[in-house]
Symmetry: C2
Subunit: 410 residues, 2 copies
């Protein structure tokens, strides 16, 4: 976290991954991000992974450093309060982020009527308004049918990526878009409605990475290659002690380093003339990948991961071991507080564990302590008081009439 955006206030109506990530990214830059949820919590409030007591580690992860307000969004009074918070005055306020169907009185036109320069960023699934989530968008993307081991002929079996990559990309487009729209407002005074489309994020990336052109210009598409790298040399190998490592040679320097470190320089060099390919090019190494692997595989298979680690250290070889979540979290020093990315944070209802801040360091904006996710409704009273100027009596009445709740009453 840092304080670069500490003068901004963003009001978020959201669920799941993309929109909460977009808002959290702004919060990690210091913005006051107020997530407004219905009284019992949003539909992602108990999402997995959860603790044994049912608290959502997922919710805690994607709502860090936000403030939480719980209002009866199913009642006009609750929605009026939400609108008032979203459109309250202030140079850096009046910014709304949502991926939920607009509630009555909380659509762009209603918000704009209350604050002319409001910025509203809405994430939708498909452009035609139909639902789409990471899983359906990924199925359509083409990637699952070239991921994982695939049969040599005939239609493959899809392998879903476990990382919700389209949600992640979309979340980060949202933070970029909020900053671009706010910059425009700062220069012109004009707010606007911005619509982000989850399916279009996938389509844009398929295009950016060259796959649309591949089909349209070449009339073909990238084959399934298991774990091999497409268009250069990269493959996974087993070690003597049952681990697997990814070894890659993208650049001529990395290619020479691989030969040097493994002592296979001469054997690798002999492949070029034998197969008639130029191993100093990426395409040549790709064409010769099976022959390269035939030498590298026994070399790796004769050594433990620790031995390989020692040989490759400082050698210039581009490589890395595969590891599971437990090994990453318990044994990889990058995933610990020796890395300034992480701080041990006490998450109410869950406990103390390392939480990541921003994966960027700004020399003019030092890191601030990472803050946990709020409990649902933790900041209801503070926001009603600070942002709307309600008195303690008024706030008490909202509690009594079931329009607002704080964590103490949940």
């Amino acid at each position: 976290m840092n304080n670069l955006l500490a003068d901004l206030r963003i009001v978020e109506f959201s669920a799941f991954v993309a929109a909460p990530l977009g808002g959290m990214t702004m919060a990690q830059f210091g913005a006051d991000v107020i997530r407004i949820d219905p009284l019992g919590g949003g539909i992602d409030h108990n999402r997995w992974p959860v603790t044994d007591s049912g608290a959502s580690l997922y919710w805690a992860g994607l709502n860090k450093a936000k403030r939480s307000v719980a209002l009866a969004l199913d009642k006009p009074e609750g929605r009026e309060l939400a609108k008032a918070i979203a459109t309250a005055p202030g140079l850096g306020a009046g910014i709304v982020l949502t991926n939920l169907p607009p509630l009555a009185g909380l659509d762009y036109a209603s918000l704009k009527a209350a604050r002319d320069d409001v910025i509203m960023l809405r994430l939708i699934g498909n452009r035609d308004g139909s639902a789409a989530v990471d899983y359906t968008v990924n199925a359509a993307s083409g990637f699952p049918l070239v991921t994982g081991p695939q049969p040599d002929v005939g239609p493959g079996m899809p392998a879903n990526n476990v990382l919700p990559a389209w949600d992640v990309a979309t979340g980060l487009y949202l933070s970029t878009a909020l900053l671009a729209a706010e910059r425009h407002r700062g220069r012109t005074g004009a707010g606007q409605e911005v619509v982000a489309v989850l399916a279009d994020v996938m389509l844009a990336m398929v295009g950016h990475l060259g796959y649309v052109g591949d089909v349209r210009i070449n009339g073909r598409s990238r084959p399934a290659l298991g774990n091999d790298l497409y268009g250069s040399f990269g493959r996974d190998f087993a070690t003597k002690d049952g681990r697997r490592v990814m070894i890659i040679a993208l650049t001529p320097r990395q290619w020479r380093a691989l030969g040097r470190a493994t002592g296979l320089t001469d054997g690798l060099a002999a492949i070029g003339p034998r197969l008639g390919v130029d191993l100093d090019t990426e395409a040549g190494r790709f064409d010769a990948r099976d022959a390269i692997a035939a030498l590298v595989a026994p070399w790796c298979g004769g050594k433990t991961l620790a031995e390989i680690e020692q040989i490759f250290a400082g050698s210039g070889v581009l490589w890395g071991p595969f590891q599971d979540f437990a090994t990453l979290v318990n044994h990889d020093p990058r995933c610990s507080t020796t890395n300034p990315l992480f701080a041990e944070v006490e998450q109410p209802g869950i406990g103390r564990y390392p939480m990541p801040g921003l994966p960027l360091d700004f020399s003019a904006a030092p890191r601030q302590p990472t803050r946990p996710a709020p409990r649902l409704g933790e900041h209801t009273d503070a926001v009603l008081s600070e942002v709307l100027g309600l008195s303690a009596t008024q706030i008490g009445q909202l509690h009594d009439t079931g329009i607002a709740t704080g964590p103490a009453r949940l």
Copy 2:
């Protein structure tokens, strides 16, 4: 594309995916992004996928709408010109993006000496300066060992995601970071150095999604589940005509829609009491996923994709077919110019094909025509003239002495 950032100039020294994507995102918002490459092109200039004539569809995809300058970066004169372009005056100029090791005279201190308020965003692999790329970072992330079909017991086989998801996420963090740093400079006059860490992007996401907490708090981690959704109901099913579909029920509404559309409501309802789980909860549907799938699988298997499409249309069921790249590009209307995301663009040296703009629509900044990627050095002369004010004679001398090249001479 739009013109929201048309007053910004960003100078990019980059290769591969993340940094070029970060710069291109700014270019798609209208910024003047000048990518400076060595005379023969950067190490990604011929990257796959390529056309039959060897032109890189990948390079074309990730450098759209930028300007290209080719300079002899291996010579002091070439680096001086690059520095002068990077630090030229102008309110929105003086912003540098790179993922390459700094060349002599092009490090932050040198740039700052030439322009005190310069912003330099450097992407590195690991925080300790060691190399890391999407493949090695992904291997370390834990995701490949829970992706794809995995054995029930014992260590699994990794399945690499074919989408370079960490590069994509990093590229979009870069655009967010550039805007945050430029906003800060606009308010304070101060530039800064920003360092982004590819491995930290992965670590941050593993944390944000709850997996660090899962290991540290619960002492366990997400199991491999093939294509099943974790913590709710989602699975892929075969159709009668050999296609596969992903069917999901995240919300109670989607769950009821699935029963209604398939006519399986009663059968599905009977599962709850039989297994003693509450199917109105996500966790209940996850626990009962095999029993649910046992009813849905024969239903899907008895119908063609077209029949399923017709039955699910407008039903509220959350689903989508798996399709390969060719089907996506040739038959999915979302991946065509009927979607305003795409425009048919003539890419010099390659041909005409649909290129994506930004996956966001800004009501106050209408879409502008998508622009192709430049040929290497296409804008060398224009940039030397416009940005540095060099005369035609001076530019001619730079060509004659091999310091600068334009596309005509390549």
